[in-house]
């Protein structure tokens, strides 16, 4: 029960802090949103701006599953898990995705400096960033729930947790009245990385034979540290090394206005990698044929060595430490295409569409949304949008206030769906994509 409480609190906390990410997509729809260059590096702001210490906070988490995938109300108020016999395997597995992912991407801006003359803009940022992705393949649940003959793809059981400091410099400028280009270069200083992946592991049940093809690796760098004892048991800890790697990433963007009032853009962000100096790297690799439970007969009594059999199975996933080295992890890349059309009858009203594809190992997602923005005055811009994608239906809303030099942005990419509560804490019943963006800067 204690474990459940912890999970509930963690999920609830993530839901409460909301979402939006380092790519607060609703921000694309806003007018006068000075941090639009994060989505489209070619965006040139009208004003210079500055923020310091908590000036921009992007908290994003995504799940393509929800409580509804695992908890099932029964008659009489009883709640059972999907592994309960009261829930059919077809119902339980039907509520799961092929890869059930949970990703968290938190970006806390430490300092931002943007210098713009309306045609050329230089930006510099320092961000603290924490990213975590976990993915569990449906086949694992299928194996546990149903069993039976077949091949179960255990690959994609994936956990990656990364903490880094992002130093970014960006340059955007208008080549012509219709065309702008921009780029941002990130120098990434990695503090910790834990990377676990069952990769191409497979479990095959055929007749009375059980075979396991294991291809599992575990790597740590920076603060994250693990060790493997003589019995291949993994023990987690921390190291004294706060710098575990370094990397580079690039954002590129192009904005083109083919006709008056229509602005299109395409961008790619976080195209890069980090090279980590490993604290630990280990593999569990090979083909294992499970020969069966040993049954001994002695002194008139037979003994089935079930524990021994389980130990044999564990051997398939016993880590063997490799020589320490380095590994690279790719940054979760975003590709975006957008178009915004300003109404000819009223410049303060615009409609826009944005398609975003996110590429991260074991946590790819897609999002498409359309929205409308109204900017009745320079000091105020508000937008709403609705969308659909990997995580289901979603909406977005944001408000940008420019009160003199003070630029306050408040917005969210929210999800549309049912919610319930666990011990009073709201929890999504289906998949979610939530971003919360809070920005406080100074424009001048």
């Amino acid at each position: 029960m204690k474990r459940l409480h912890i999970i509930t609190v963690c999920v609830g906390a993530l839901l409460c802090v909301g979402a939006a990410a380092q790519s607060f997509r609703t921000g694309y729809f806003l007018d006068n949103y000075v941090y639009g260059y994060r989505i489209n590096p070619s965006q040139v702001s009208e004003d210079s701006f500055f923020s310091l210490a908590l000036g921009n906070i992007d908290l994003q988490h995504n799940m393509n599953f929800g409580v509804k995938s695992f908890l099932y109300p029964q008659q009489g108020g009883k709640i059972v898990t999907g592994l309960n016999s009261a829930v059919s395997s077809s119902e339980f597995l039907g509520n799961l995705r092929a890869h059930n992912t949970l990703s968290v991407d938190e970006n806390i801006n430490i300092i931002t400096i943007g210098a713009s003359n309306g045609s050329v803009m230089h930006t510099f940022e320092i961000n603290a960033r924490a990213m975590a992705t976990a993915s569990v393949p449906r086949d694992i649940f299928a194996f546990v729930k149903k069993g039976g003959e077949g091949t179960y793809d255990l690959g994609g059981f994936y956990v990656d947790a990364t903490g880094l400091t992002d130093f970014a410099y960006g340059l955007a400028f208008k080549l012509t009245d219709k065309l702008s280009v921009g780029a941002r270069a990130h120098f990434l200083l990695g503090h910790q990385n834990l990377n676990f992946n069952t990769a191409n592991s497979r479990l095959t049940l055929s007749g009375s034979s059980i075979s396991i093809d294991s291809d599992v690796y575990l790597r740590t760098a920076g603060v994250a540290q693990v060790s493997v004892d003589g019995e291949s048991r993994v023990d987690a800890g921390m190291s004294d090394s706060y710098i575990g790697g370094a990397g580079f990433a690039l954002d590129l963007g192009v904005t083109y206005c083919p006709i008056p009032g229509l602005e299109t853009m395409v961008s790619i962000t976080d195209l890069g990698f980090i090279s980590w100096d490993d604290n630990f790297t280990g593999h569990a690799y090979g083909s294992h044929q499970f020969e069966g439970v040993d049954v001994t007969y002695e002194d008139g009594s037979a003994q089935a060595d079930v524990d021994g059999a389980l130990e044999k199975l564990e051997q398939a996933f016993a880590f063997k430490p490799d020589s320490e080295g380095s590994h690279n992890t790719g940054m979760p890349m975003n590709f975006a295409i957008g178009a915004k059309y300003r109404m000819p009858f009223y410049e303060g009203l615009s409609v826009a569409a944005l398609m975003t594809a996110h590429s991260a190992r074991c946590a790819n997602w897609f999002d498409f949304r359309v929205g409308a923005t109204i900017t009745p005055a320079r000091i105020l811009s508000a937008t709403v949008n609705v969308g659909a994608g990997t995580f289901g239906a979603s909406y977005g809303a944001a408000l940008n206030l420019l009160l003199g030099p003070i630029n306050l942005v408040l917005g969210t990419d929210g999800f549309l769906g049912s919610i319930g509560t666990i011990d009073g804490i709201p929890v999504p019943l289906g998949g979610i994509m939530e971003n919360l963006h809070v920005g406080l800067g100074f424009a001048f």
Partner: protein, 570 residues
């Protein structure tokens, strides 16, 4: 970019925008079915609903001898293998019929301690002088005999031989062991060197020799005969354990010319004759006796077979069981016997199998052992080489394996010569051999008690699950197996199963695949023990061979619907 306009003009759109945000916040639809308290969540799970098959690494090969071991450890001690590999349940033992030699006191025949003879004669002057002469003799002085004085002797006495066993009805011949007859005579009142003797001691005619003489001059008043060896006693019938016959001494004692003391003459004089029949130790020992006995005895010996108790309720029909009795003895007693084989189960004697008037071995010399081999069985062809066949229904004797087999001998000594040698050790030994080739006359069902398999290490994973034990079997034996797997909880109490589950059968001399379903009907009990209940069905007239075996291969357990509670996971 936007054109500055009044705040009033744009108030509505701004409010709409803010409303949009608010809409977003409230866009999530509450579902009160999911207002959950963690205490309400049932964390019991059931996994592997379609089953998971776990192979068992071993191929189980069980030979018939191992099955018999499992059936009863003691039983394996009795299983032997014939040259052709056929298994034979065999029990061997031996016993000695001590009552025969104890009850019949053979020493009473070989040693006649009470048999001796002391014969004494006394003579007076008046026996051979005229009394008037004696009256005229002076009161003292001497009388000179001018001529020989001849004293005629003819006396009788009884010789008694005692201590003969009452079972001895006739003595054909007793060879005496260095028994000598000696005679001696002493004289008192007669001149010491003037007496001569010519006497004959006559024994009963069944002695050989039966006439011993004493002849010669006395020296110093005494005369002794040369010892004469008494060879044997033959042809006499004892009465009441004794033989009483008359013996006699006859002949003359002659006193030659000499002076006789008158006073002595008046008082009389003595001549004492003594006959001794004994060996140097003063006994009459017999080296060999040929007698006729009138003797019957009964003796029983009990063989504790020690078959396992679990066989007690099993009804066997052994196809060709047999009992071999080997009797060896050096006794020279011709006997016949009635032999009863009595099964004893739990202290209760059953119906015996009897043999009548069987001739027992007879040895004419104690140094040689004679033997006879008796075979009691259903078929003469099964008798061992050299055995004397007696048809007997041993199968009925072993219908229920007895705890003990009591063998009763009722022996009768025949009225013919019995030879007993002195100092010989006599014994009657009986060897028993109970053989049961493991083939049956009809079908047999047997359920041995087999220890349950300990699954406690996996019990926490196995409550309420349905199991299937599957694999291939190869049975080269004539045993048919009907296997029922019982599920037991930690207290070894039976966990109920669905009807028909937990049973599979393996036919005799067959091969194939089997699948044993185990489907408990309750899910709240962990399965801690798996108890095989194996009914062995043996088809008749099929010999069991040691090389027969039952092999179970490609074994696997398929488990479906394992229920696990969170408490068990902790």
């Amino acid at each position: 970019m936007t054109t500055p306009i009044s705040a009033t003009r744009h108030l509505l759109p701004a409010l709409l925008a803010l409303g949009g945000i608010a809409l977003g916040v409230v866009s999530c639809v509450p579902d009160d079915r999911y207002d959950i308290r963690t205490d309400d969540i049932d964390l019991d799970v059931t996994v592997f609903e379609d089953g998971i098959t776990v192979p068992i690494s071993e191929t189980l090969t069980v030979s018939l001898s191992e099955i018999m071991d499992k059936a009863g450890e003691e039983l394996s001690d009795y299983i032997k293998t014939a040259d052709d590999g056929t298994m034979i349940l065999s029990y061997e033992s031996s016993a000695q019929l001590e009552n025969l030699t104890d009850d019949l006191d053979l020493s009473s025949v070989s040693s006649l301690a009470g048999f001796h003879a002391d014969v004494s004669f006394t003579h007076q002057l008046s026996d051979f002088l005229d009394p008037s002469i004696i009256e005229h003799l002076p009161s003292s002085g001497t009388v000179h005999l001018n001529s020989d004085l001849v004293i005629n002797i003819n006396q009788k006495a009884n010789l008694k031989i005692e201590g003969i066993s009452s079972e001895v009805v006739e003595i054909k011949e007793l060879l005496l062991d260095n028994v000598m007859v000696e005679m001696s005579e002493t004289f008192q009142g007669l001149p010491a060197d003037a007496v001569s003797t010519d006497l004959t001691f006559t024994l009963p005619p069944f002695f050989e020799p039966n006439v011993i003489t004493l002849k010669g001059m006395a020296v110093g008043g005494k005369i002794s005969s040369e010892p004469v060896q008494l060879v044997k006693i033959a042809g006499v019938v004892p009465e009441d354990g004794a033989i009483i016959r008359e013996v006699g001494v006859s002949g003359t004692v002659t006193v030659g010319s000499s002076n006789l003391d008158i006073a002595t003459v008046r008082d009389g004089f003595n001549a004492n004759l003594k006959v001794s029949i004994a060996n140097s130790q003063g006994e009459i020992k017999i080296s060999k006796a040929t007698v006729v006995l009138a003797y019957d005895f009964e003796e029983s010996t009990t063989v504790n077979l020690g078959f396992p108790e679990e066989f007690r309720d099993v009804e066997f029909d052994f196809y060709d069981p047999g009992v071999t009795l080997g009797i060896q003895t050096n006794l020279g007693i011709p006997m016949t016997a009635d032999i009863d084989l009595v099964p004893v189960i739990a202290g209760v004697e059953g119906t015996p199998v009897s043999l009548k008037n069987v001739s027992l071995p007879y040895s004419a010399s104690a140094s040689r052992t004679e033997s006879v081999l008796l075979y009691l069985g259903r078929y003469e062809a099964s008798k061992p080489a050299g055995a004397e066949y007696h048809q007997a229904d041993i199968g009925s004797l072993l219908k229920h394996l007895p705890d003990e087999l009591k063998i009763v001998f009722k022996a009768h000594v025949l009225s013919s010569d019995t030879i007993i040698e002195a100092d010989a050790d006599y014994a009657v030994d009986v060897n028993y051999n109970l053989t049961m080739p493991l083939e049956l006359g009809s079908d047999l069902e047997y359920v041995p008690d087999i220890e349950p398999i300990d699954l406690s290490s996996a019990s926490s994973y196995m409550s309420g699950a349905a199991f299937t034990l599957s694999g291939k079997y190869l049975n080269t034996s004539p045993l048919g197996l009907e296997v029922t797997m019982e599920l037991l909880d930690a207290d070894k109490k039976l966990v109920p199963q669905e009807a028909g589950s937990g049973v599979f059968a393996i036919g005799a001399a067959s091969s194939g695949e089997f699948s044993l379903q185990l489907s408990p009907t309750v899910s709240d009990k962990a399965i801690a023990w798996l108890k095989p209940v194996i009914k062995i069905v043996i088809k008749g007239k099929q010999p069991l061979k040691k090389t027969d075996y039952i092999e179970l291969s490609d074994l696997a357990i398929t488990v479906a619907g394992i229920s696990v509670s969170p408490e068990e996971l902790q």
